[in-house]
Symmetry: C2
Subunit: 376 residues, 2 copies
Amino acid sequence: MARAHLAVIGGGQLARMMQQPAIALGLRIRLLAEGPDVSAAQVVADSVVGDHTVLADLEAVTEGVSVVTFDHEHVPPEHLRALAAAGHAPRPGPHALLFAQDKGEMRERLTALGAPCPRWAFVESGEDVAAFGFPAVLKTTRGGYDGKGVWVVREPADAEALFDEGALAPGVRLLAEELVDFRRELSAQVARRPGGEVVRYPVVESRQADGVCAEVVAPAPDLDPALAEEAAALAERVATELDVVGMLAVELFETQDGRIVVNELAMRPHNTGHWSIDGAVTSQFENHLRAVMDLPLGPSRPLAPWSVMTNVLGGAVTDLEGQLPVVLAAVPHAKVHLYGKAVKPGRKVGHVTVVGDDLDAVLADARRAAALLTDG
Amino acid sequence: MARAHLAVIGGGQLARMMQQPAIALGLRIRLLAEGPDVSAAQVVADSVVGDHTVLADLEAVTEGVSVVTFDHEHVPPEHLRALAAAGHAPRPGPHALLFAQDKGEMRERLTALGAPCPRWAFVESGEDVAAFGFPAVLKTTRGGYDGKGVWVVREPADAEALFDEGALAPGVRLLAEELVDFRRELSAQVARRPGGEVVRYPVVESRQADGVCAEVVAPAPDLDPALAEEAAALAERVATELDVVGMLAVELFETQDGRIVVNELAMRPHNTGHWSIDGAVTSQFENHLRAVMDLPLGPSRPLAPWSVMTNVLGGAVTDLEGQLPVVLAAVPHAKVHLYGKAVKPGRKVGHVTVVGDDLDAVLADARRAAALLTDG
């Protein structure tokens, strides 16, 4: 196998979707995969099975490869620093990725930058939470995703139960955050190159169900242009101040009183940007590759007035490819993306994007296609 | 490696570009590649090295796989019939593919269908050519491509030289065709499913240089709508009558007096349809997969008024990926497709597509990007 242009750590659907623009650009990916047949390993010719928490495995997959990027944010910072010390270029770098890995570090840094955040505090006991006030959102600083590691507590007993012996794994640190009275969730994405070039994506609306992204509308309907500009400028500023390289998603709450506050940061292609594969001149996956490879970025201009992306979460349909005749007959213009993953209840196993001029029609088509892949 | 959904014979750029929609649709390709590192083998996880003229190699790659499709038209018909007899579904089937493999069979069949063709005849000697008349285009019935196996003869000595002992390989059959006085070349593409469903693509203009496609404009500028309809209807009729499954390209001449005549047929994704990857709701590669997998077809609707595809032919630039910083800086919105092939003079090693509202600007941008990848 010839020399790879970049190494990608982690074989999930984000790495899988990076392979499509990598094919176009002639960029060869060497993949570190959790197993021989995980999502991305099914579609990348050069993959190595290994564990992203084991430095030797990271060293093996990056041998002879300069640029290293990621399907997820779970590579230990000390390993990233070791790779950098050995002459590799992990992108984003450990100094940036830290703020996506640790919500406590993120809150401290964003607060220092003056970025709008919910009221927050570190908490180590039920008393701390009571002092913070109810209701509160408690979050583990590390390792949570898709609603995992997050609890809404409304009274002292709820909070105290979390601190009971054995309720939390050793070393887990908790953050309390104000339960934001939000109108909706927004996401502002940017791509950033090492030298500082930034491309902003349109700010989108993200609709959640059970703590998991269910649907994304691009651009966010009826968003005040001033607030859209504020959100996009905030994402650009965070990317710049934190020296992010690659894609950054700033997940935001739009409050009932018309402000934005930062919910989370993700430093990789993000579920709220999947619409861009079919709906923008340059997808988030292509711009992530272009950014980490230090190539000029592409425009994020939408190809149609509206794009709607609906997640396919594991449901009654267990043979997703076998369901293609049904979904493509019902919505021939649906852009279906299946991740090659075994169907488990609620697991993200694919998504559907529909683009067009009429938002109601686009929404209805995307939902119909996704429902046919979920419930049959 | 888990069971593949389809086998693809041949590891060139067409198979490579099939992999992008295959990733989206969750369809696993098993590839028969000419070598371990040919264009498509670089980007497909499940590939087998073998020879498409050796039945045992075809049997090996199709083991356990029903649907078989192709990167090229060079698999011997008897092998295709053997695969079909063994229960596989070669798509297109040997009875259809014959008309893309053999120009004599194609001319006879199209003439029988009443499809517009240049005047033509089989020729076996210089006298036959003289009887046909000068100037004439002589073509080998099999194996020619991109101007190879084609000669324009203007006088008896030219024709006789071709029939000199040793000038042609044994068994080669020649066809004489009228040298068509054409205004330009057009291409009409359709996708067709086994049951007969057809989707027509917009008729495009194909501009050649030295017998090789250099540039495609979609749709063909200033094409008489009646002629466009005639061309698209002809492609649909040919696909239906010949029972083509997958993509069919009908390459046409638009004559000086405003008629169309058929030049060639191709039963696979075709260079004149590469624009659709970035310029249409459903690319020719996705619809080829959908057709051969007997899935409902997708709409071919353009995403912008104009798409221009310019081929990157091997030139002064030998490190194409190394040239990406230059080309993407000059034309950030260019959609660059590199094929992972070694650069040789005149070889197709990639293409660039630009889409937009203004044809002059789109043309200029596509040419500029391709020139930067060719000449530097």
